[in-house]
């Protein structure tokens, strides 16, 4: 009743509410939250960056993610914060069933992300593209990636394929807690693409915890280690190489064929996998052509 008597005040309040609600909605009205760093990269790569309003705690690429709201990650998604952002689509991990259920109850659309192998990357790009209305850009991106991968395969096709162990995680400065790629998964596929034989090709798991016994039994000729870029330096590399000298009986250690790459993109199954394949191929076979 008070509002009826003061129509101008009512109008001003309504306008304020509308402005607040719409202030941050991008042009085409989509508000996307991505809990998966790989998916975030995909969204930005297909031009949906402006529609992304929320990212995970661990997103670092592209640089624009710094300006987006952080909403947690795999084990600790901040449900309240997600709701506050009023998303029109939330990209989650396939295993986050709890979160999916809650979002479903709030009627928020969900894109469930599961990646296993390398082909899933381009498949997911296409699916995401369809979901956010950027099919053309998605197809273009996917094709470019596929072409790049094919190119890498072609370049290494005639070269010898060393028995390689791809280590993606290890205790700092020690040979404990070594995790390597198993015979399935995008890391394995990348390794094979880059022209190597996976020493754990017969183990049908994505990750293998490598005991010292397995290390000696499998006897890799090359050890390829992927490290995060944070904290990496020449001193760290020396330290990590020294750690391997504890087991000089391993052929890769004896022949000093331990390759270390430090870059966050190496373990992200996102749009930059083509670059990753190239980087691995360069490391394995020398920078060439």
């Amino acid at each position: 009743m008070m509002m009826a008597r003061r129509p101008l005040l009512a109008l001003a309040i309504c306008l304020a509410i509308v402005v607040a609600l719409t202030a941050q909605t991008p042009a085409n009205g989509q508000r996307i939250i991505s809990l998966v760093p790989a998916a975030t990269e995909m969204l930005f790569a297909i031009g949906a960056g402006p529609e992304v309003v929320g990212v995970s705690s661990f997103d670092t690429y592209p640089p624009e993610v710094a300006t987006r709201t952080r909403v947690g990650a795999l084990v600790d998604p901040d449900y309240e914060r997600i709701l506050t952002l009023r998303p029109t689509l939330v990209v989650v991990y396939g295993s986050q069933t709890d979160l999916v259920e809650r979002l479903g109850r709030s009627r928020i659309p969900v894109f469930s992300y599961r990646h296993v192998g390398l082909p899933d990357v381009t498949t997911t790009i296409r699916e995401l593209g369809a979901r956010v209305g950027r099919m053309t850009e998605a197809n273009a991106l996917a094709s470019a990636i596929e072409a790049k991968l094919a190119d890498v395969r072609r370049r290494v096709s005639g070269l010898p394929r060393p028995k390689t162990m791809l280590v993606f995680s290890r205790e700092v400065g020690a040979l404990r807690g070594i995790y390597a790629s198993g015979g399935i998964g995008f890391l394995h596929d990348l390794l094979v693409t880059a022209g190597a034989t996976d020493v754990f090709a017969d183990v049908m798991r994505q990750n293998v915890q490598v005991s010292s016994e397995q290390l000696l039994a499998r006897a890799p000729e090359v050890i390829l280690e992927l490290w995060p870029s944070k904290g990496w330096s020449a001193a760290r590399e020396t330290q990590e190489r020294a750690a391997w000298r504890q087991l000089p009986a391993v052929p890769a250690v004896r022949a000093n064929r331990i390759l270390m790459l430090a870059d966050d993109k190496l373990t992200i199954p996102g749009p930059r996998v083509g670059e990753v394949a190239q980087a691995l191929a360069d490391a394995l076979h020398g920078t060439a052509r």
Binding site: V75, S211, L215, A217, Q246
Partner: protein, 355 residues
């Protein structure tokens, strides 16, 4: 002074007179020596046999074939570089945790005390968590060293807290300090895990389950000085700990330097525990199962309980580790899970058993 107070001798109690029965004159200690020898043999046997078992099938003739250069002899490499150090590590860790358990139970006058009761493993775990989570950014010394530092920090804090009120080490105050430290450090550990990324969290959880795959002798050698000091102290502590079981006052009136004994016991057992945890992580149940079983076998004399617990603790852990790495080969079950699977039913049995 009336004779009315002299009671009639009860018919079932013969009035003692004359020389004592001969069996009384054999020292109780010597009766336990065969068990000490047997348990030592068990330890040596377990360490010697464990490398022959594993997920990879080895040709043992090839392992010991001296004509094949070591660099080409994968079988020998696996036996000597992967399995044997692991068995030795398990033996040392098991021996340390079991004997530290005995000492802590004596110090705290409680058979339910464990090497972790006073917060040492919480300190070690915090050190390890910090190294695992932030190790890449601050690569100081590695997880093992960090856990050792964390353990010693916890020891000093508990000691300072326990000493704050009085000169000696009251068991009640020690216990309370330990419980406080456990709670506080556990909260810090959760906080660190909250800050860490998924990989670090997973790695940290995995560390907590125990891992004896030392990949060479270096981690063992690094911890060895601490273990030697601790074991030497245990040898000295054996008889004083017997006296301590009568109570601090009663031990003191029999000529024991109670404060010194408590200090030596506290620090040596803490050092042993810290070193053991730095090698293999906080493996549970050994520090309580083994001492309990050993006391059932040999009685309460620490001069028997300590060595037998050490030997059998080592043999037990070697066995658990061997089971863990073979039963689901090539997958490895963390050794802490095996000891927990044995420990749970053990506690149930203890609970149900009537004294």
């Amino acid at each position: 002074m009336t004779d009315a107070l002299r009671p009639e001798t009860h018919p079932s109690q013969p009035r003692p007179h004359g020389p004592s029965p001969p069996h009384l004159l054999r020292a109780p200690l010597t009766r336990g020596l065969p068990i000490v020898a047997l348990s030592f043999v068990a330890l040596v046997a377990s360490v010697g046999l464990a490398p022959f078992v594993g997920s990879t099938s080895l040709s043992f003739t090839r392992v010991f074939a001296t004509h094949v250069p070591f660099g080409d002899n994968v079988d020998a490499q696996i036996f000597l570089l992967a399995r044997l150090p692991r068995a030795v590590a398990a033996a040392l860790v098991g021996a340390s945790l079991a004997s530290a358990g005995v000492v802590f139970q004596s110090l705290l006058q409680n058979p339910l005390a464990t090497p972790y009761t006073l917060g040492i493993s919480a300190g070690a775990s915090l050190g390890a968590m910090l190294a695992i989570t932030f190790g890449a950014a601050f690569p100081l010394a590695g997880v093992a060293a960090a856990s050792l530092v964390g353990a010693f920090l916890a020891v000093l804090v508990v000691y300072a807290l326990a000493r704050a009120r009085q000169h000696g080490l009251s068991t009640t105050v020690l216990l309370l300090s330990g419980v406080t430290l456990n709670a506080f450090f556990s909260a810090l550990i959760l906080f660190v895990q909250y800050l860490s990324d998924f990989t670090s969290t997973y790695r940290a959880l995995r560390w907590l389950m125990g891992d004896l795959d030392v990949a060479g002798y270096a981690p063992i050698l690094a911890a060895l000085p601490f273990l030697i000091v601790a074991f030497a102290a245990f040898i000295w502590l054996a008889r004083p700990l017997n006296l301590l079981s009568l109570g601090a006052d009663a031990a003191g009136t029999r000529g024991l330097d109670v404060h010194r004994t408590q200090r030596v016991a506290f620090f040596s057992a803490s050092i042993a525990t810290g070193a053991a945890v730095s090698i293999g992580g906080p493996i549970g149940f050994i520090g309580i199962i083994v001492p309990h079983l050993v006391r059932l076998m040999v009685g309460a004399d620490h001069r028997l309980v300590l060595p037998v617990s050490a030997f059998l603790g080592g043999a037990f852990l070697v066995t658990c580790d061997t089971v863990g790495r073979t039963v689901f080969a090539p997958l490895e079950l963390p050794v802490g899970i095996i000891t927990a699977l044995v420990g749970g039913p053990f506690f149930l049995w203890m609970l149900l058993k009537r004294r």
